[in-house]
């Protein structure tokens, strides 16, 4: 029909472009097929599977101690929380509980993970919208948190610190001091985050009144985490189904109202402050005692089905184990938050511009390996 050829448009005259699998703003190998009318999005179709590693099937051949390490590679920014979920699920099956010291260290590390993850997200949001410098400011604080992880867990990203019955080793002697220093640093930088991005008029205009998701839709798409809380759905697993002693901690569940990109943004920004306050409550009160419960050499779960949910940085992660009484699980299913959140993308993005698609994707905060597993 023209210089651009037939394959460029559909019969209705819509322009079809493929965003990804290699694209600066898809944060990994997500492939979005987008139908456009000019700049306006008509339809978005995510194509998955570019980084499927079959973690669920692989786990079926591993013992209950061994399969946990693989979950670090799902949502690699909340690796510790993933490990925690698996450890909790196995503990549920064994009907044991981690000692109080182990529980508290677990949730301190989980909140640090959440902070680090949200910080990376904050930097990437800036980067996606074209502001490059915030990315580096966010990485400075994230780096400090990762150093805590490295000192205590021995790894920066894929910690594998949780074992069924507790944690792998006791905390490093420097842990408390270093954590307090980092918290002080982070708290002093919140104002800078607001200066450089939150309050910026261009940033506000890019995010406000964009990507609306109503509470009803959030529930029906199965959205969880900051994505649903931005629409005002109270779904924090830490509040509703407390695990590892979250019921003893004082914190607020951050809820948004409007359900647009900016309210999702603000939910995450305020969650960072909540995480800081949680760690501050706990860091000086770590009880003495064992860091690991006594477990048998070979773990065997009784016959039955076990489900455990936790709140990762992106939403609700569910671990479902079916056991036939053997030393390795009969079937494992992960209910990953990103997969459900991604399903709402088409609904949220319709009718907005291409630039908005980038803003919407960055506030959904997708981790593609968690979608594909």
């Amino acid at each position: 029909m023209s210089l651009l050829g037939e394959d460029y448009t559909t019969e209705e005259g819509e322009f079809v472009i493929n965003i990804g699998p290699q694209h600066p703003s898809t944060h990994g190998v997500l492939h979005l097929k987008v139908w456009l009318d000019g700049e306006t999005i008509k339809k978005v179709q995510p194509h998955l599977g570019y980084i499927h590693r079959s973690i669920e099937k692989m786990s079926e051949s591993l013992s209950y101690r061994n399969f946990i390490y693989a979950t670090s590679r799902m949502d690699y920014l909340s690796a510790h929380i993933n490990n925690q979920a698996c450890a909790l699920c196995v503990e549920k099956g064994l009907q044991i509980e981690a000692p109080p010291r182990a529980q508290m260290i677990r949730i301190i590390l989980a909140e640090l993970t959440r902070l680090a993850s949200h910080q990376l997200w904050w930097g990437c949001t800036g980067l996606d919208l074209g502001a490059v410098s915030p990315f580096f400011y966010a990485f400075r604080e994230r780096e400090a948190i990762l150093e805590i992880m490295e000192e205590t867990c021995g790894a920066r990203l894929t910690q594998n610190f949780c074992v069924p019955g507790g944690i792998m080793a006791d905390i490093h002697p420097n842990f408390q001091k270093r954590t307090k220093d980092v918290l002080k640093q982070i708290k002093s930088k919140f104002q800078e985050y607001d200066d450089v991005l939150t309050g910026n008029v261009i940033f506000e205009n890019r995010n406000k009144n964009v990507g609306f998701l109503t509470a009803e839709d959030a529930i029906s798409f199965g959205c969880t985490g900051p994505m649903a809380r931005g629409s005002g759905v109270s779904c924090d697993v830490r509040k509703w189904f407390p695990y590892d002693g979250y019921d003893k901690v004082q914190f607020d569940e951050v809820l948004g109202k409007e359900g647009d990109c900016f309210s999702r943004y603000m939910v995450r920004m305020n969650e960072m402050k909540q995480s800081v306050s949680i760690i501050e409550q706990l860091i000086d009160n770590i009880p003495e005692g064992d860091f690991q419960a006594k477990t048998k050499m070979v773990l065997k779960l009784p016959k039955g089905e076990f489900y455990q949910r936790v709140e990762t940085a992106r939403g609700e992660l569910g671990v479902f184990i079916v056991s036939d009484g053997a030393a390795s699980p009969y079937r494992i299913k992960y209910r990953s938050p990103n997969f459900s959140n991604l399903s709402a993308l088409d609904h949220v993005a319709r009718g907005y511009k291409i630039g908005d698609l980038v803003a919407i994707m960055s506030t959904i905060d997708l981790i593609i390996p968690d979608v594909d597993r």
């Binding site: 322009f15 472009i17 600066p24 700049e39 919208l129 074209g130 490059v132 410098s133 450089v196 630039g355």
Partner: protein
């Protein structure tokens, strides 16, 4: 010291001119040789300029992001950009199969040629100008709007959907921001009463317009900087490129030397808008003069006029670079909203204010 001052660019230039006219009998031939020399000088000036700007941009970005910037090749990484240029020249200049080959190869040339044309009426130092045309400001605003043709051509001929989207965005953007640029230039033309660049510079002998012209000129200066940032497609208005949305926009398919030409054009454009802003609002090569304080003005004259010009230009270049590394990108409709709802009405009202000021003689 005195010797250094007397050997200015102008005396060198007029010396060459006189020598050429006296040695070559044919006047036309002498003029053409002079033009060729001027062109070569321009190229010799532009390529190092782009190296400096590229290096400066990386260092500015690095320091703003708590990094060193380039620091491996050469002293303080200063040769990094040379190495990059060598790499770009060595690379294969790929032309996609489905593209319109003629337009695809022509587009980068048009980009470079248009921005080099705009350099003609800019006064680099005292009496040192390639072409002191009597409609200098009009010439600048007319030629600089031709750049959009290069972008549209590149985007259309690439046979790539991202490129096409980027080019179409750029078309709307440059056409609208042209208005604000024109109106803010006009405010100085009103005050000066001349379109000639040398007249505009000379009119600031008793003080730069930004100081003499009160708030209206400051407003038009700000509008000029914002609108011209949009016109040269730099962040936060780099919608034609929009890395996070359109991967690289109109130059997605370009590689090697052709891509380098786009880069060259971007930096020359950056220099040009800064030079024009410096000439019109900050007095060009004119040293910092205050009214009729003869002694103070005389001390200021000791600094060579070319340094004054380059200093002011690089100050504005730095501000535009800081825009790029601080702000998020606008969305395409917000870009047009900014122009038609904010910049244009404000600059229209501002033009009236400047006119009243000029008629009543309220400026210093």
């Amino acid at each position: 010291m005195n010797l250094l001052l007397t050997i200015s660019f102008s005396s060198v230039a007029s010396g060459i001119h006189n020598w050429l006219v006296s040695t070559i009998p044919n006047e036309l031939l002498a003029k053409s040789v002079e033009m060729v020399i001027a062109g070569i000088c321009l190229l010799l000036f532009l390529v190092p300029l782009c190296f400096i700007l590229g290096y400066m941009e990386r260092k500015v970005a690095g320091f703003m992001q708590m990094r060193y910037g380039p620091n491996r090749v050469g002293p303080y990484g200063s040769l990094q950009i040379v190495a990059d240029t060598v790499k770009l020249v060595m690379k294969e200049g790929l032309t996609p199969t489905g593209s319109d080959k003629f337009l695809f190869n022509l587009a980068p040339v048009i980009m470079v040629v248009t921005c080099m044309l705009v350099l003609a009426p800019i006064a680099f130092a005292k009496d040192f100008q390639i072409w002191d045309i009597n409609i200098g400001v009009l010439y600048v605003s007319a030629i600089s709007s031709l750049a959009v043709i290069g972008i549209l051509m590149a985007g259309w001929s690439s046979y790539n959907k991202y490129s096409l989207l980027g080019a179409m965005r750029s078309g709307a953007q440059i056409v609208s921001y042209e208005l604000s640029v024109g109106l803010s230039l006009i405010s100085i033309v009103i005050l000066t009463g001349s379109l000639k660049m040398s007249d505009i510079v000379m009119s600031q002998e008793t003080g730069w317009w930004i100081i003499r012209g009160h708030i209206p000129v400051i407003i038009s200066f700000v509008i000029f900087v914002i609108a011209s940032t949009a016109e040269i497609n730099r962040a936060p208005f780099d919608l034609a490129e929009a890395e996070q949305e359109l991967t690289a926009g109109f130059h997605t398919e370009y590689a090697g030397m052709k891509f380098a030409m786009f880069l060259l054009a971007e930096y020359i454009n950056l220099f040009i808008v800064s030079a024009i802003a410096a000439t019109l609002f900050l007095g060009g090569w004119m040293p910092f003069h205050i009214g009729h304080w003869q002694e103070f003005n005389h001390i200021m004259d000791f600094v060579p006029s070319s340094l004054w010009f380059l200093g002011k230009t690089f100050f504005i270049i730095f501000i535009i670079m800081q825009f790029r590394w601080t702000f998020p990108r606008l969305r395409v409709d917000q870009l047009l909203t900014l122009e038609w709802k904010y910049l244009l009405p404000i600059s229209m009202v501002n033009t009236i204010l400047v006119t009243v000021m000029a008629i009543m003689g309220w400026h210093f």
